[in-house]
């Protein structure tokens, strides 16, 4: 039986890959969660300093290659661009909670060698979405909450029942 894509969280942030703040999309299937990074360019003071001295490429190469998350091969997506992939069957602990900087996702799992791995990401609604909803009369706080709750619903649907049952969720 094939792997089924459950949904996509288009915007989240994490410092996991390089220790600096980076944006990523989170694609969730019924078997795994993939943090797909937008580029190899982290965001932070150190990165910004490097960015200044980087030779500016022409606008055509500056534009990222769009990924069609509906059709992209999941095995390819899992390994491209240093993306992070977590098998749901290996998850030992999952926490989705509200923090100071937004809603955070914490996943603790064991890899094939039995080594503990942690995924930590902040599910923050993109500012364009918040602006759009604000213009429709939805307060910014509510727009962010709705986005985070949709993301939570996505994880609840995708996780195996044993993981979902043990997990900590936002009320």
């Amino acid at each position: 039986m094939g792997e089924t894509r459950v949904g996509l969280i288009p915007y989240a942030t994490t410092i996991m890959r390089t220790g600096q703040l980076e944006t990523c999309a989170i694609l969730v299937s019924d078997r795994r969660t993939i943090l797909a990074f937008d580029s190899r360019r982290p965001l932070g003071p150190r990165a910004a300093f490097k960015e200044f001295f980087r030779k500016e490429p022409d606008p055509a190469s500056e534009a990222p290659q769009p990924v069609d998350f509906r059709t992209v091969d999941l095995d390819v997506l899992a390994v491209m661009n240093d993306n992070i992939s977590v098998q749901h069957s290996a998850i030992e602990k999952l926490e989705y909670k509200k923090g100071l900087s937004g809603y955070s996702l914490f996943i603790e799992s064991r890899n094939l060698e039995g080594k503990k791995e942690i995924v930590l990401a902040t599910i923050a609604a993109p500012s364009d979405l918040v602006k759009k909803q604000k213009s429709e009369g939805v307060p910014a706080k509510e727009a962010k909450r709705q986005y985070a709750l949709k993301a939570q619903e996505l994880f609840k649907r995708a996780m195996p029942s044993v993981v979902a049952h043990k997990a900590r969720w936002v009320e």
Partner: protein
């Protein structure tokens, strides 16, 4: 660096301002020396006035021409007046030796007096050579220099961050805005 050319220019200009300030305030040191003669007599002394030491540190060496020790003191203006009036005073530095070093770090002292008198027992005239250095480190000047350099660095970070945001914008435009639930699609 096409879009950030003005940042480069401003940064170089800031460094151009920062470097001379830093150089001027950190590398400059005023040196001086004095030849003092302590006259004959038990309570006689010789003194030398050093001006404009406020905010700086004063250090130096002294040596007596005889084999007998001298007493060297460093007094600020107020204490020196007390010393002259034979009332009790507090020295910033005091040493009794044939030769030695001294050092005073007192930013609030505008003027100081180097006072030399006979060490115990000797009442014949005594020659003393004193050399000193005022290390001219002005914290305000140094901070200005660091401020300009740091400001230039911040400008670079800001420019890089702005460019990164532009890149992020392009990335965002290529993605959906909201969370998507796929209908049961198998790969």
């Amino acid at each position: 660096m096409k879009s950030g050319w003005w940042v480069t220019v401003v940064w170089i200009a800031m460094l151009a301002v920062a470097m001379p300030i830093g150089w001027f305030y950190s590398s400059d040191a005023i040196e001086g020396s004095a030849h003092l003669t302590v006259p004959e007599g038990a309570s006689t002394f010789a003194s030398y006035r050093v001006d404009d030491v406020e905010g700086f540190s004063l250090s130096g060496e002294f040596s007596s021409s005889t084999d007998s020790p001298v007493e060297l003191m460093i007094l600020d203006e107020g204490e020196y007046l007390k010393f002259l009036a034979n009332s009790s005073y507090v020295a910033e530095f005091r040493a009794v030796a044939i030769s030695g070093e001294f050092s005073v770090d007192k930013p609030s002292m505008e003027t100081c007096h180097i006072v030399v008198r006979h060490g115990a027992g000797l009442i014949v005239p005594q020659e003393v050579e004193v050399s000193y250095t005022i290390s001219a480190v002005n914290p305000v000047g140094m901070l200005s220099a660091y401020g300009f350099a740091f400001g230039g660095g911040l400008l670079i970070v800001y420019d890089g961050w702005k460019r990164h945001k532009k890149h992020e914008e392009i990335v965002r435009e290529s993605k959906p805005l909201d969370v998507i639930f796929f209908d049961s699609e198998s790969r």
